[in-house]
Amino acid sequence: METLAIQKEQPAVSNKTTTISGSQAVLEAFIAEGVETIFGYPGGAIMPIYDALYDYNEKLKHILVRHEQGGIHAAQGFARASGKVGVVFATSGPGATNLVTGLADAQIDSTPLVCITGQVFAHLLGTDAFQETDVINITTPVTKWNYQITDATEIPSVMAKAFHIAQTGRPGPVLIDITKNAQLQKFEYSGYTKMEHLRSYRPKPIVRKEYIEQAAKLINAAQKPFVIWGQGVILGGAEKEFQAFIEKSGIPAAWTILGESAIPTSHPLNVGMLGMHGNYAPNVLTNDCDVLIAIGMRFDDRVTGRLDKYAKQAQIIHLDIDPAEIDKNVKVTIPVWGDCKETLPVLTELVERKNHSQWLQKFKELEQKEVEEVIFEEQNPSTEIMTMGEVIKVMNELTGGNAIIVTDVGQHQMVACRYVKFNQTRSNITSGGLGTMGFALPAAIGAKFGAPERTVITIAGDGGIQMTIQELGTIMQNEVDVKILILNNHFLGMVRQWQQLFNDKRYSFVDIASPDYVTVAKAYNIPGRSISNRADLKDALSEMLNHKGAYLLEVIVGKENNVFPMVPQGCSVSEIRLK
């Protein structure tokens, strides 16, 4: 039998060792990995780490949240805005279980996180000790990797592994559960070495030029090629490479909501949003194109609609870093497996410079139809009551498209994704795959820490804001400059819309009451205003944006407005309804 070492020994930084505690080793790992901000909430089983943190106050900024779910969403917002790993602390038991929603959200939206949970002493594991839960098994399906540490000597190498896994390849959340004895244990520490390679983990495949050549051949022969892109372009930092590719090939391109903002909204080849509430042209023409080039996206059902009627006429090229995505939902003609930052330049080199003006014209025509039947009225309503679309329109005029927009989930999210103008990447932060209501407010806090120089506006509905409204306390205590825009339609609007369209208007428990948000904000020392007249809209939005510090603006919008276009569930993308 051949013998091979499990993992090659990491070379020590120096031969000198110092005696430190497991808790200190965790914080040293953070510093070595460039972490500056931690979102967390203390508790019994993580007290040794918090005790050590007391001495690291100058190097590591800890933001005390009001609920662990708020903490993990903040870390997600931080990661999405900055491109760095978001870091979370929580205690054992309820602290850890409160992370689960955020982990699931980060897993499905590929957000790099390292979460540290405290755990009861190793000798108490399995005894139903106070605040003991089996965190590893609870979080296995919703983490890219997780691990329980019961011995402090493991901490440096496991932390290195955690950061390596979280941020390489297709990013994702990692959870490290550390028993209290390991946090307290003193051990001989010989320094921290970042991990570069793990034999059972292949973040990036080798770029296979022959497949890119085949893809280029298909693209060069295409009459009606169509690009659809997702968050992979942003996660790969390949925005420039992507723009260069579509500009040279002249191919119209549409985005999934997580891919939005990778190129400016105003780019002439940006033809809009895909999917259930996406734009008319890209949905209809998905079933008309001859070559569909999918880049860093995963053919989510909200994007594809009915699969057996999805782009059946087209040959499909799929560029993705995750091999499990290839052929998962849609059978592809040519898989281009790899990091799109590496594959796109090769592809751009091989494609002919073209101008598909006639094909592009088709998008323009259908866009015009959507403008006439939906967009114009949504943004310039003839009704007395305001619409969400017009609020976004005025907001665009004031921000110039330079703000980070953090949306919650529901009608306002779809309207915001459809109408917000973006000039730069990493500007649209939203819960895409999981659809987590309550995501926006804490995620906006994190986004502000991730991009402090930028304006951060959170847009939420009257439902979602009430799910994590306690994070106003975090905003107050840390003086976080986030602008909170509540679009209040006095309903759980998206569910109401479905009940109207598909359940004969049987409005079952969607009528949600709101507190006086301005008074609530005031209690947290956050100024605010509520408006219901169109005449006040511009002034109120300006006041919010010009205010130094957090500000809450509630805008009362039409109660029973619907989001259109819409691809009803079970329908093909080309069966998209304009009303």
Binding site: L4, N137, S200, K312
Partner: protein, 207 residues
């Protein structure tokens, strides 16, 4: 995984597939692999974990009854897990496999009935323990063989029966030694890993 109206060619016929998964020996990995099946409501017919031909590398054998399309996707999801080195799937024709079975029967019946003795010879059973009250036989082979002996012993008072998971060897495999060497390098050679998947897309999948 299965959708309501699968595109033509996706449906296929369900049959028995044996997955061979090479992994690190890590606590929790069994669960991580098991939930890939349970999440999709797929029943695992048999699961065995054992050492492999390489020290420190673990080997899973998992048997499921599914269409090839589903099995292929499952393989990719398994291989996507950190700490999984590689996952293969094979039909029964492509592997050599055995299952071990133990049968506990009353010794007095065995001693008295000549027919039973003949039966045991026929099924290639060996006695593991002989006591006054009972005798334990073992046999190994394919499912039909071990099952055949249960049926045969039932009339004579089969007290207990247990069968192990399937262990399988892939006929065409040349083992994992060379692959592992490549995995241990920062830049694996182009001839392994990735390429197999793209060259033989329908046959093999690799990370």
């Amino acid at each position: 995984m299965e959708f309501k109206n699968p595109p033509s060619g996706v449906r296929g016929m369900k049959k028995e597939f044996t997955l061979t998964v090479y992994t690190e020996n890590q606590i929790g990995l069994l669960n991580r692999i098991a939930i890939i099946f349970s999440r999709r409501k797929i029943n695992v017919d048999s699961l065995n974990t054992s050492p492999s031909e390489i020290e420190s590398v673990h080997r899973f054998n998992i048997v499921i009854t599914e269409t090839e399309d589903v099995v292929k996707k499952l393989c990719r999801q398994i291989e996507k897990q950190v700490e999984v080195l590689k996952a293969y799937y094979n039909t029964n024709e492509e592997i050599i496999w055995q299952e071990l079975a133990l049968y506990k029967v009353p010794t007095n019946v065995i001693a008295e009935k000549v027919v039973v003795e003949r039966l045991l010879r026929k099924y290639g059973a060996r006695a593991v323990v002989i006591r006054n009250d009972y005798t334990v036989f073992e046999t190994s082979g394919h499912r039909e063989e071990t099952e055949g002996l249960i049926k045969a012993l039932e009339p004579y008072g089969l007290i207990e029966f247990v069968r192990s998971a399937r262990v399988a060897i892939i006929k065409s495999s040349s083992g994992f030694h060379d692959k592992l060497k490549e995995f241990e390098q920062l830049q694996p050679g182009e001839s392994v890993a990735e390429n197999e998947y793209l060259n033989e897309r329908d046959k093999v999948f690799t990370m």
